[in-house]
Amino acid sequence: MEVYHRPCDEGGFNAEEAHNVVKECVDAVLGGEDYNHNNINQWTASIVEQSLAHLVKMGKAYKYIVTCAVAQRSAYGFHTASSCFWDTTSDGTCTVRWENRTMNCIVNVFAIAIVL
């Protein structure tokens, strides 16, 4: 019988590369800005959309889920956790934490392999 080869993955998700890509996007959108309630909607939308666009440009056969949480930097507590049920050999995740003087930003990228 024919053996079906998976042309994607090549060793699983490359978290380093994704981290760099996402960090550049966040820097581009939020770098040098101060927290502003009016713009925050637009900023999160652009961070997420740009990250997604850059991830797709990497050309790998993955489905992506990108989440972004931006919060004002003050004395408050915030926790986030995620648990995933997937194939650990091909799928992966990457988290980027970014902060400046006035705000904190956490971006999660989940990548799930597509078997073509």
């Binding site: 990457c94 934490r97 003087r101």
Partner: protein, 173 residues
């Protein structure tokens, strides 16, 4: 397609011949003047390298889509039940909430797995934060096949904390 296929074979053989030195999962701190970012990995590379050498080769299923779609309403109920049960009466406390995020995400994952929806991969994310008059915005975008993949979400607020739970269900084609 053929080129990618041959490249993959080559990469696979190279992996086999060279003993890949395990990369330590480290956090890298790059200090800029105005921003700090860190990377965190959860997986260890060495067991994954071995596992990818033994990657299962899938046969074609000839299925065009899921036989049973993901029941968004049922999962919404699960999220609501779990969050209210664990957090409705809770006060914000750093240690407690740190533990709770992990516990709640595991519990939600277990309950959704009980539904036994075939060929769906799950990602459960839980955010718990102190409600202190500050502003926070959480958003997400997904690149997937909207006919088969979906998201389900529930947010809960009480006097001292807020909690948001998302379940992303991705069909394994």
């Amino acid at each position: 397609m053929a080129e990618r296929h041959s490249r993959k074979q080559e990469a696979w053989q190279l992996e086999q011949s060279a003993e890949s030195s395990p990369r330590e999962p480290q956090g890298q701190n790059r200090e800029d003047k105005a921003s700090v970012s860190t990377v965190s990995h959860v997986d260890e590379p060495s067991p994954r390298d071995e596992a990818s050498r033994l990657t299962v080769r899938m046969e074609n299923t000839y299925q065009l889509g899921p036989t049973r779609h993901f029941p968004v309403a049922a999962v919404n109920h699960i999220l609501k039940d779990v969050l209210t049960a664990y957090l409705q009466e809770a006060e914000y406390d750093p240690e407690f909430c740190r533990q709770m995020t992990k516990t709640v995400s595991e519990v939600i994952k277990a309950k959704v797995k009980e539904l036994m929806i075939p060929r769906y991969k799950l990602i459960v994310t839980v955010y718990i934060g102190q409600q202190d008059g500050q502003s926070i915005l959480i958003s997400s975008r997904c690149l997937w096949n909207p006919k088969s993949d979906t998201v389900s979400s529930y947010a809960l607020r009480n006097s001292t904390l807020f909690a948001l739970a998302n379940v992303y269900a991705v069909y394994f084609e």
